[in-house]
């Protein structure tokens, strides 16, 4: 199928335009370097052509791994006979940043005989400041058509399709820009002059940004704002999603009480109530939390605040061998380690990228969230202090999150100081994007997709594990005595490993299954307690744990164990792929496992000492 390439500098709005033209939903964020993979989709207006969304690069002269991938892809694409045209997206409010790249693209396309169209994006911003860009004159100057568009408002989208169609009918044309042999230095000079001549003048565009920066980057107010925002983020995970979680729990309970008595066969009835509603239901309750977390992180990214947070964090992170740019991958790691690991590609310094990889699996990812929520709800009282401002459970969540992050930092701090390696290091340069009002719909959609992905991906594993656990626990005595079931025997085999933490065999089995994915822990426990309770009314898992005489020290030990251990098959796989080193992934898995166990043991004994 004929292809059209969409390329442009980071944060120029490619993904937003791509989504608009194709109707797909790629992640959009106000931070340079968000898209790291090539996306393909059919254009809505021209169903017989495919549009290809490329990761942003500042120049075709790559200096980071991320850019190299993009540049090589681009050069290869130009050789591809299926590629008919190239769309080069530039940010009309920041010409000087995009024009050099544009000229490079025009030159390379000319060499390969592919027509280029320049799309000057964000004209809505120019309009709102009473500015304009003379696209006619700029087009003349670079001998290339320039279309004014806005990916946000949709202005110019129809013209793009019309223009592409007209170009296709014209067929191949001789090059016009005469840049064939122009060296990069010349292009750089020309771009600079063009930007001066045609670029928007004056301060209006940066005035708001500067004013907001003087608050958010101020040494006093900026620090305060940073902690307030992070605290809100963590409270929101608990407080804002609580009503939705309760609704899911009540809803599932009601459905279970309706459905279960209708099932005739005794075994099928037990299966539905224990495995389906007990196991899978226990895990579904946490979906609202994942939704809220993804949404709030998206809000921060799209508003432009994340880049400021990266700046604020740079100096402290450097103490631990990292860079401010590690902040985004690490915070994404709070949603899920996998996007975090992908996001680390945007770190230009190979050494710091490696260290960031090590920190990410210790970030409190959303798969830990169900486990944390369950254990905190079981062990921490639900009261509030300071007139409802601070909830104890929210505070506990904040602490365990903080603990995970601290571990990550300590690990990289120690490794960066003690290990010699051959990885090169590069200094810190970060473009600060303008503050923007976040686009709510794309963010909601992204949160929805993430939750759906979580349910479908983890759901499959959880479904399988729950079934196996249920069968093992239910037979051979039809759920009358869990202790003498097959699962009970298996549990006693692994029990000695976890006995030092005060955990009985039921928890041992749950931990064992959680190595597939952490959230399986909740499903497994749900099934085990479901069989044990042997009644047809659903009792929330929290209450069953509370009545299972688990010592608070064991609860804390479990929290610590889950905070550190790398119990996620997918993360290990992606890690070894992205870092290109299976040895690194294996070492991290074993290392974090040992660390997790020792730390849990220490906490258990400490709790016993305190009383």
């Amino acid at each position: 199928m004929p292809k059209i390439i969409l390329i442009g500098s980071p944060n120029s709005g490619k993904s937003l335009l791509f989504n608009r033209l194709t109707g797909l939903h790629h992640k959009v964020a106000n931070f340079p370097g968000i898209t790291v993979d090539v996306g393909i989709g059919k254009m809505r207006a021209l169903p017989d052509v495919e549009l290809v969304d490329f990761p942003g690069t500042y120049s075709l002269q790559a200096i980071s791994a991320e850019e190299k991938v993009a540049v090589e892809h681009f050069e290869r694409a130009l050789d591809d006979p299926e590629v008919e045209q190239v769309l080069c997206l530039i940010d009309a409010t920041r010409l000087e940043k995009s024009l050099y790249f544009t000229l490079q693209v025009i030159r390379d396309c000319e060499r390969h005989g592919k027509p280029v169209t320049v799309l000057a994006n964000m004209v809505d911003v120019l309009d709102s400041h009473g500015l304009s860009l003379d696209v006619g004159e700029l087009g003349e100057a670079i001998h290339t058509p320039v279309l004014p568009i806005s990916a946000r408002t949709g202005k110019g989208a129809d013209e793009i399709a019309r223009h592409i169609q007209a170009n296709r009918q014209l067929g191949p044309q001789p090059p016009r820009a005469h840049l064939l042999d122009a060296p990069d230095v010349l292009l750089r000079g020309t771009a600079h002059q063009l930007a001066r001549r045609y670029g928007p003048k004056g301060d209006v565009l940066v005035r708001t940004q500067t004013r907001l920066d003087s608050f958010f980057l101020h040494s006093v107010t900026g620090g305060f704002a940073f902690f307030a925002i992070m605290y809100l983020l963590f409270q929101s995970i608990f407080t804002w999603s609580a009503p939705a979680m309760d609704a899911v729990e009540t809803g599932l309970g009601a459905i279970a009480n309706l459905v279960v008595p209708l099932i005739g066969s005794h075994v099928a009835r037990d299966f539905t109530s224990d495995a389906l509603f007990g196991g899978i239901g226990a895990f579904l309750v946490f979906v609202p939390q994942i939704f809220v977390l993804t949404f709030v992180i998206g809000l921060l990214e799209d508003s432009g605040y994340m880049a400021r947070a990266a700046l604020i964090c740079h100096k402290p992170l450097r103490l631990f061998g990292l860079t401010g740019k590690s902040f985004i991958p690490m915070l994404s790691g709070v949603a899920c380690a996998i996007p975090g690991i992908y996001a680390a590609r945007a770190i230009d310094s190979p050494r710091k990228r490696l260290l960031t990889y090590m920190a990410i699996p210790l970030m409190p990812c959303s798969a830990r969230l169900p486990v944390y929520t369950l254990l905190i709800a079981a062990f921490i009282p639900s009261g509030t202090a300071l007139g409802g401002l601070v909830g104890w459970q929210g505070l506990a969540m904040f602490c365990i999150y903080f603990f995970g992050m601290l571990c990550g930092l300590l690990v990289t701090g120690i490794i960066s100081r003690t290990s010699e390696d051959h990885y090169t290091d590069l200094p810190f340069v970060l473009e600060l994007p303008p503050y923007r009002v976040p686009g709510i719909w794309p963010l909601l959609r992204n949160a929805w997709n993430r939750s759906k992905h979580f349910v479908t991906k983890a759901g499959k594993i959880i479904f399988t594990v729950t079934m196996v656990i249920w069968v093992l626990g239910y037979f051979p005595n039809y759920g009358t005595d869990l202790g003498t079931s097959w699962l009970g025997y298996l549990g006693r085999v692994v029990e000695p490993v976890f006995a030092p933490l005060g955990l009985d065999w039921r928890y041992a089995v749950a931990i064992l299954t959680s190595f597939l994915a952490r959230e399986v822990f909740v499903g497994t426990l749900g099934t085990i307690f479901g069989i044990e309770a042997a009644d047809e009314n659903m009792t929330p898992l929290v209450q069953q744990i509370q009545s299972s005489d688990l010592a608070i020290g064991s609860g804390l030990a479990l929290l610590v164990f889950f905070a550190i251990a790398l119990q996620c098959v997918s993360t290990v796989a992606i890690l070894s792929k992205e870092s290109g080193s299976g040895a690194l992934a294996t070492k991290m898995f074993v290392g974090y496992l040992l660390l997790a166990y020792s730390a849990a043991l220490a906490v258990y004994h400490l709790a016993a000492l305190v009383g």
């Binding site: 500042y58 120049s59 002269q61 200096i63 409010t93 920041r94 010409l95 000087e96 940043k97 050099y100 790249f101 990069d184 750089r188 600079h192 930007a195 001066r196 670029g199 928007p200 565009l205 940066v206 940004q209 500067t210 920066d213 003087s214 980057l217 101020h218 040494s219 900026g222 700046l311 604020i312 740079h314 100096k315 401010g324 590069l426 200094p427 810190f428 340069v429 970060l430 473009e431 600060l432």
Partner: protein, 82 residues
């Protein structure tokens, strides 16, 4: 007076004179691609406390650079409203 970009105070403007040898080549190129050309005017918008990266403006784009880069860019301070 020639100083490094890093020593510029918040609110001051300067003209870029050049780069010193300490900065790796690829980074010099990238800085120029960002718009830090010799002859260009740069304003220091903010110098954040505790040695955090400082915030600079070149035409309509705002960058944050840390000492490792900014210290290798030589500049000449311009009069307040030249």
């Amino acid at each position: 007076m020639n100083i490094s970009l890093w020593t510029l105070k918040a609110g001051e403007r300067c003209e870029i004179l050049g780069y010193d040898q300490m900065l790796p080549d690829n980074y010099r190129t990238r800085m120029m691609e960002f718009g830090f050309h010799p002859g260009e005017t740069v304003t220091c918008l903010q110098s954040v406390a505790f040695g955090a990266p400082k915030v600079y403006r070149v035409s309509n784009t705002i960058f944050s650079l840390d000492e490792e880069v900014a210290d290798h860019i030589q500049v000449r301070v311009l009069a307040a409203d030249a």
